[in-house]
Symmetry: C2
Subunit: 278 residues, 2 copies
């Protein structure tokens, strides 16, 4: 169902390259955790970048952490491109690092636990490496093609999604109804909520991490930016899951995204989001 | 604004008693954390106790942990009463322990982080000791009259709520819209959401813990049981906050509950919940 799109800058990456880039990402995303930890549950400088449309917070910590990550990437891989949540796009040789310094800024601002730093790498066509780190809980999730893993303290494991017999048994996660801004999005959310066992609100990147870990069956969002989802795609896919737009297409540009652990549940959910009664 | 109610079994408790009971509660709530941890993110046996009205999950872990807590209380204080989420009421001498083995069972079931074990003590009139423990993150919140504290690993601190200049600057937390089951409850939630800076969904006991910690300004819920809120009341009040029903009355029987860190914000929010335009 995925719509591919041709990009002349696709870079062929070897298995050794993947290993090297994954180690770099895992190290960097944990390094900046120290900065996040030192500011968690302290007074923050919060700006609103919504330009009057609602409230879209960014803290001084988001900016500092993205700057630390960009500087480290530029030192190590000066030829690579960088896309970041706060400081925009820096083109490169086709390999592009994607940074969300704090996915879940609202959670971070309110002392809650469901947030993380995201760092991914795209080969010019699609994300091939993804990492997510929550320093307060010391949880690292990572993914590459055909593999995903988890590191909690010193405890390492691979992770995989779970099968789910029927949509009526599926458990769904989403961050909040306020991110479903258009009527058709709210209607899609309602249709799917009416069909699953229950829906858990709150979560940001943890929603997708829990799909990858086989704890949630569906992760649904309607207002993602590319930085929010690209680093999560290899984690979900590496664990055996599927992540697409609500129409079943490429999710890497964000917007309306659905992730599922079981391909049958994914197919049914996409039909329901499109208004069909399955 | 609080409505007191007279109870002939009110027990006078000394400061030394409070210290002893608090230590007992802190120790017990952490002890059962080992059982919770051993089952977190594993296969669970889930029953639905809703009797056909929606979905109200209880796991084998909820039952086991409540049983462990009841047994420990009965051994230590055979004359005390016990009220629990899963195994009902055991009357005693007026001092009554209140247990919620897993507050946030849906979060626990889905691998998320916002859940905790709650254990409180009532003197027959009101809750005087409260504890909340999340073993995966190793966070303990506690409260007694005029004091509340926090223990994370070996890091101890007292906690207090924050002042908030205006309702428009307030940040609110609530677990999910699905727990606002009546039209007037949904309308109350909407009125308040429209007046605050933003509302964070997802949280259960963490919503109230973050009010106590001065991270959230308002915690709002509509479908609480006595076990969900009684152990949190001393934590919120001990940190300087206020917790009442939506009408400003005693919150210890649950139902529609509002907690706030700043008394002015609490008063304004209660007026708005009652349909007045402040």
């Amino acid at each position: 169902m995925t719509e591919g799109h041709v990009n002349s800058n696709v870079v062929v990456v070897s298995a050794d390259d993947i290993s090297e880039y994954l180690r770099f990402a895992q190290t960097l995303v944990r390094q900046v955790g120290k900065e996040l930890l030192s500011r968690f549950r302290t007074d923050l400088v919060v700006d609103d970048k919504s330009a009057g449309h609602g409230f879209d917070p960014v803290t001084d910590v988001d900016k500092k952490v993205e700057r630390l990550m960009r500087d480290a990437i530029t030192r190590q891989y000066p030829e690579h491109g960088i896309v970041g949540e706060e400081y925009g796009d820096h083109p490169g040789n086709g390999l592009t690092w994607v940074i969300d310094p704090i996915d879940g800024t609202r959670a971070f601002m309110t002392g809650m636990l469901h947030w993380g730093s995201l760092l991914g790498l795209s080969d010019g066509l699609r994300p091939i490496i993804g990492t997510m780190y929550q320093p307060f809980v010391d949880e690292l999730f990572w993914g590459i093609p055909r593999e995903a893993g988890y590191l909690h303290g010193t405890k390492q494991s691979t992770i995989c999604t779970r099968q789910c017999g029927a949509l009526a048994d599926a458990v769904m996660g989403t961050t909040g109804p306020e991110f479903y801004r258009q009527t058709q999005e709210l209607e899609g959310l309602k249709r799917l909520r009416d069909r699953v066992l229950f829906t858990r609100f709150g979560g940001d990147c943890y929603v997708f991490a829990m799909v990858a870990m086989g704890q949630l069956d569906i992760g649904l969002e309607a207002s993602l930016k590319p930085c929010d989802i690209q680093p999560m795609i290899p984690i979900i896919e590496g664990a055996g899951g599927i992540v697409t737009t609500w129409e079943g297409g490429d999710a890497s540009q964000g917007g309306r995204v659905i992730a599922a652990g079981d391909p049958h549940i994914h197919a049914k959910a996409v039909e329901i989001l499109q208004g069909e009664s399955v």
